[in-house]
């Protein structure tokens, strides 16, 4: 084994590995960014330029698409008096944040129970939570629509936040459960000996130590909520449509406003980007992890 390790220490291998990493990074970047690059230039193009064959990268950029979605000022292309996009944007923020907050609160409690306790029906309940994410949205949609109409939850933020739990809660519970189980028992025992209740253990030991996991869960949960389409399509009205439904409105009957759709999609990326940048620093290896013993 030391021979292999020694081999890996040799500088030639190091160069190859370094080069390989650079190539891998390049491939990753191009693969990930290409569609975004495409969306970006589409959002800056006039309709005529979008039809170029082969696609043009040299063109006269225009900001009219962005102006259109925010202000509705269209230079004779497609008049739209009251752009709803800003409102859709705010809706998305409210609904997604609400859904994630609710999921995390309920999820942390449930995940802790599943990670640390043993009790009858434990695995069945865990599976039950997961199973809510099984059903294709088709099974839910029309019955849910009827139910919401009757309960007055249709076209309300609360209704959507509750419906979104189908998307975020099972995922949150299982992710947090896995991360909680990574934390060595000894740390908890130590805290208990120091006199912490289960709540104290949870907030002072488990959560800080599983911060990378919580961060990852929050980001992913937020993104899943933000990008949900089929539920809000049915369960929301104009006042509560999120950006996903809003973005699809650029498909009209006699043309498709690709530029505006691209602009709207890019703008909708920003909050998610901000959140992930904010949370980036928490997805670092806990320095205390190695110092348990």
């Amino acid at each position: 084994m030391s021979g292999r390790a020694a081999f890996e220490e040799r500088s030639a291998w190091r160069w190859v590995r370094g080069g390989g990493l650079v190539v891998a990074a390049l491939v990753l970047v191009v693969w990930t960014i290409l569609p975004f690059f495409w969306i970006l230039i589409t959002s800056l193009k006039e309709p005529r330029d979008m039809l170029s064959v082969p696609p043009t990268f040299v063109f006269r950029p225009t900001t009219e698409n962005y102006e259109a979605i925010f202000i509705g000022r269209q230079r004779g292309l497609y008049a739209s008096a009251r752009p709803d996009f800003p409102r859709f944007f705010v809706n998305s923020v409210i609904i997604s944040s609400g859904a994630v907050v609710l999921s995390v609160v309920a999820g942390v409690l449930a995940a802790y129970a599943l990670a640390r306790y043993t009790f009858p029906l434990k695995e069945q309940l865990a599976f039950l939570f997961l199973s809510f994410r099984f059903a294709p949205f088709i099974t839910f949609l029309i019955p849910l629509y009827i139910l919401y109409q009757r309960l007055g939850l249709y076209n309300t933020y609360l209704g959507l936040i509750l419906a979104y739990q189908l998307i975020t809660l099972p995922f949150t519970i299982w992710m947090l459960r896995s991360f909680f189980m990574e934390i060595p028992l000894e740390v908890e025992e130590a805290a208990k000996i120091d006199g912490c209740s289960w709540w104290g253990v949870l907030t002072r030991v488990i959560l800080p130590l599983s911060l990378p996991g919580v961060a990852v869960t929050v980001i992913l949960g937020f993104m899943f909520s933000w990008n949900a389409f089929n539920y809000p399509l049915m369960l929301a009205g104009r006042q509560t449509f999120p950006v996903t439904v809003g973005a699809i409105q650029f498909i009209s009957y006699e043309q498709v406003l690709w530029g505006q759709m691209a602009a709207a999609s890019l703008v909708a990326v920003v909050p998610q980007l901000l959140l992930s940048l904010l949370v980036q620093k928490y997805i670092v290896r806990g320095l205390t992890m190695g110092a348990v013993r």
Binding site: M1, S2, R4, A5, L21, A25, L28, V29, W31, T32, P35, F36, T42, V53, P55, L102, L109, A110, A113, L114, Y117, T118, E123, A126, L130, F132, R133, F134, A135, P136, I138, T139, F140, P143, L147, L162, Q165, P170, I173, W174, F179, M181, E182, L185, S210, G213, A215, L220, M223, N227, N230, T244, A247, Q272, L273, Q280, I283, G286, M289, G290
Partner: protein, 295 residues
Amino acid sequence: MARRRPEQLVPYVLLLPAFLLLIGMLYPFCLGLYYSLTSYYLQYPHLFRVVWLGNYLALLTEPVFVYSVEFTVGYALVAVVIQVGLGLAVALFLHARIPGRSVLRAMMLMPLMMPPVITALMWKIMMASTNAGILNYGLSFVGIGPINWLGAVNSAMVSILIIDTWGNLPFVALILLGGLQSLPGEPYEAARVDGAAGWDVFRYITLPLLKPFIILAVTFRAMDALRIFDVIYATTLGGPADATMNLHMRAFFYAFQWYQMGTGMAYAVVLLALVFAASYVLMGYWRRAAERTAL
């Protein structure tokens, strides 16, 4: 080392909020299930009656049904293997101490920030079959002829996989990255003291410790790959010639295009059964892996 706590009620209380949030969904779900046992045509309310398993039996005689089951399962298998495999590679890559790591990580997340509908539409435009599409345009520089990405039977399935992978690879990578960050440090210390090589460290330490997260990623991706819908809806609508017609698309057609709720729900329930079976098996693996790694 067994964990036994004597407090009986605490876990149930902790589970209560999550339980309450989700239990409300049981009613619409059961209603959907009920519809699958009826002949329920939105346009012909007078035809409504309970047919028990009649819809399911009718499914078996439909030629497209068998194909859509095959395609659904086959696609999910291929997609999960590729996406989790690549996701692991990417996670390891982002875990390593390379310069620009945080920028790469933030960039890595970006595909998740696009709604699948928009992703699919944008890829559809990029995948135009002539050099009008940026993909073919790029390929033309390397001498590869224009590929009919979405308009031919075989390439359509691959194209769906490409779009799906682009959108969901970050998800797998992020879970595994989080997992990698949470791994305890002692085994690695011990390995380094022993002078173990990189590949062996990976195989005997990282991989087993990461197993619960890998299985978690596999489970979620399997559940979503079996039910993939938005991408197919926005690009091929189940075509060409039913090549990409999976169970979810079929259920959609019946329920939302032809207003036959009975058959539509039956398709959905079959899909549900597949997802249930897959998750049940995978959760068994997860439990074993999680118990083994709990030191």
